[in-house]
């Protein structure tokens, strides 16, 4: 089997995992196990996975409310993500955040954010920190084309460009700002035309080929890492489902949807793998493993305890560093595993 197949296989697996995770979460939503809003990433998986593959493990990522895909791509377990959707204590945000607010600080995932544009300057802030302390870390900030009209987007890019921050802004242009097609929301459809005004580089390409995403994002990430400033990347994509579970997506035709499904990143990757010499059996086995992982995640979420009532008030204010340390010492003494207990034990 070729080197290309070896590279592609783990990415195919991740994309398939995200797809199956979301299909099952849609089902769980219909069963009433998940509440609130649920925005699916189905159709856009190659962007999260390709970008993640181009990042170092300690790089920062900031995303909108359509955040399951990137959380899983960055290594949040399907168990923790599903438990979050189910509102369980074992969820990646302890059941406090839900679908729109997944977080994984340990893996540099600074969250899913639900006010459009509000996270763009925040992402620039993470990049500012990296420049400030002189580390080589890069931040990637995702948003939709709908966000490019809002003030927060422009202010974030303005400052990042001015201060040459190590960040890549990724516009996942899925052509619909909720129910409104982009020709009715943008005076200029090419989002990257804004880049020169902010003094930053840009790139623009289609997002169904995960290896292409990895390669092109890799260049932008490298530029940021070398201190050459931010890049505005526009990746054209399409979501196969509605804006959220409550949106039947009546604003687009069946024909359009079917045409776009021909560029589904997952069959595309599978075909590429087969062409590169991977056997059908081998790929089926990957899919079977993913199915087991999803079944396990659903089971884990189902069996987990509900979000803790203590959590209602426990996280409104962070305790002082001294108090935090004392609690950790206390937890170790009492044999309770705190979030850092395992790492501390190895010291």
């Amino acid at each position: 089997m070729s080197a290309r197949a070896d590279e592609l296989k783990p990415l195919f697996r991740q994309m398939f995992l995200i797809r199956r995770f979301e299909e099952e979460s849609a089902r769980a939503y219909a069963q009433g196990k998940i509440g609130g809003f649920l925005h699916l990433y189905i159709g856009q998986e190659a962007i999260a996975v390709g970008t993640s593959a181009a990042l170092e493990p300690d790089d920062y990522v900031v995303q909108t409310y359509r955040d399951h895909g990137i959380a899983l791509a960055r290594g949040t377990s399907a168990r923790a993500a599903m438990a979050e959707l189910f509102g369980r204590a074992t969820g990646c945000s302890r059941g406090l955040g839900g679908s729109m607010h997944m977080f994984d600080a340990e893996r540099g995932f600074l969250g899913g954010h639900a006010i459009v544009g509000g996270h763009v300057a925040l992402a620039a802030g993470a990049a500012f920190k990296s420049k400030y302390v002189g580390e080589k870390r890069v931040t990637v900030c995702f948003f939709g084309e709908g966000a490019t009209n809002i003030g927060g987007f422009h202010e974030g890019l303005s400052l990042a460009g001015l201060w040459k921050l190590p960040i890549v802004f990724v516009c996942e242009n899925n052509e619909y700002s909720m129910g409104t097609p982009l020709h009715r929301t943008l005076a200029v459809e090419d989002v990257t035309k804004k880049a020169p005004g902010y003094g930053m580089a840009s790139d623009r390409f289609e997002g169904h080929d995960v290896l292409l995403v990895r390669e092109r994002m890799g260049k932008a990430i490298e530029r940021a890492r070398k201190g050459e400033g931010p890049t505005l990347v526009e990746i054209r994509t399409y979501r196969f489902r509605g804006h959220s579970m409550s949106d039947p997506g009546k604003y687009r035709t069946k024909e359009e949807l079917e045409a776009r499904k021909k560029k589904d990143p997952i069959p595309f990757a599978r075909a590429a793998l087969e062409k590169a010499g991977a056997s059908a059996e081998e790929l089926d086995k990957i899919e079977d493993e993913v199915e087991q992982e999803i079944t396990d995640a659903l089971h884990f979420a189902d069996e987990s305890a509900p979000a803790s009532e203590d959590a209602v008030t426990a996280f409104v204010y962070a305790p002082s560093e001294a108090a935090r340390r004392a609690a950790e010492v206390d937890a170790r003494a009492n044999g309770v595993a705190g979030p850092h207990a395992a790492a501390d034990a190895e010291e």
């Binding site: 509102g87 955040g97 839900g98 006010i115 509000g118």
Partner: protein, 328 residues
């Protein structure tokens, strides 16, 4: 009379006022082709066309500002926020431009604008989407703030708001859109004046002041208390938080000598605290118990349903407060 849902009542008010006055237009996200994120504006684009029912991109500060500028120069905009949560990014336009223009210009420029949309927690939409924005806006002189609980109040107040020459913040209940209520028959116009409370339930034993979603919570608790203990509450819905019907509240407390204020916004300050302050000031000698408040807990809204239920006011919590002030 006829039965109409809250969402339809809001729509009727917009429709009638747009028919009446060419200067009135509607702008917001998904108000036109999508028919409204909550289907409030269904059919309006077809009736009035793209000139007057305008889909705006996601740019709240931008379209709120366009509304203020258009209002200063003679139009009468209705600006819809998909939810009031998103008004936070347009806060500067409302606080610094809409609310102050008339005063800053020495009375030269009026801002006849209505900002409207759903307010308050829905169900499990978590910390950034569950705000009860009442205190932020009720705090600002120069704005009127409406928070109707029933379809009838929603329609009558919105018509008044659209005709008013001042900026109005119109807080609709996100979870109230399906609530049904009686409305005057078609053709019978009803304008509900600002600053006039509605007595939703009569009683001599305790006053409840409440508005928005918690109005229903309080009514349920009042019903239970009557059944269980024979204690009769007078429920006052102020309907507008600015102006506030001071006299209706004070007069009721003078009769009942007790009061519980039930609201969804956080307990620190806000209209809830304002009402309590007025009662202690103007009905001090009539009080037989401290005035209590039932509010959301003082925390950002958690996602999990079991936790959200703990945070929002419940009939049980209202009942507990009522029993406390009536010494049961």
């Amino acid at each position: 009379m006829r039965e109409v849902r809250y969402r339809e009542a809001v729509r009727e008010a917009i429709l009638e006022e747009m028919e009446r006055d060419e200067r009135v237009f509607l702008m917001g996200e998904e108000v036109g082709y999508y028919q409204g994120a909550y289907k409030v504006t269904e059919g309006l684009l077809e009736k009035f066309g793209e000139k007057r029912v305008i889909d705006a991109p996601i740019a709240e500060a931008g379209f709120a500002g366009i509304g203020v500028g258009a209002a200063m120069t003679g139009l009468r905009p209705i600006i819809e926020f998909m939810t009031w949560n998103f008004s936070a990014v347009a806060f500067d336009q409302i606080l610094n431009n809409a609310a102050k223009m008339y005063q800053m210009s020495g009375g030269q420029l009026r801002v006849p604008i209505v900002f409207r949309g759903p307010n308050g927690a829905a169900r499990q939409v978590a910390a950034q989407h569950s705000h009860s924005m009442d205190p932020f806006y009720a705090h600002i002189p120069g704005l009127w703030v409406c928070a109707p609980s029933t379809p009838r109040d929603a329609k009558g107040l919105l018509k008044t708001a659209i005709r008013d020459d001042n900026p109005v913040v119109f807080l609709e209940g996100e979870t109230l859109y399906n609530v049904k209520g009686e409305l005057p028959d078609a053709g019978e116009e009803e304008l509900i004046p600002f600053g006039q409370a509605r007595i939703a339930r009569e009683g001599d034993d305790c006053t409840i002041v409440t508005w928005g979603r918690p109005y229903y919570t309080a009514m349920e608790a009042a019903g239970k208390l009557s059944e269980e203990e024979g204690i009769e509450c007078e429920v006052i819905d102020p309907r507008t938080l600015r102006p506030l019907d001071h006299d209706a509240i004070i007069e009721s407390v003078k009769t009942t000598n007790r009061c519980v204020v039930v609201h969804e916004h956080w307990p620190y300050g806000g209209p809830g605290a304002e009402i309590v302050d007025r009662i202690q000031r103007d009905a001090f000698d009539y009080l037989d118990a401290p005035v209590l408040r039932v509010s959301s807990l003082d925390v950002p809204m958690p996602y999990a349903l079991n936790l959200e239920t703990l945070v929002l006011p419940t009939p049980a919590r209202v009942l507990e407060a009522l029993k406390k002030v009536t010494y049961r």
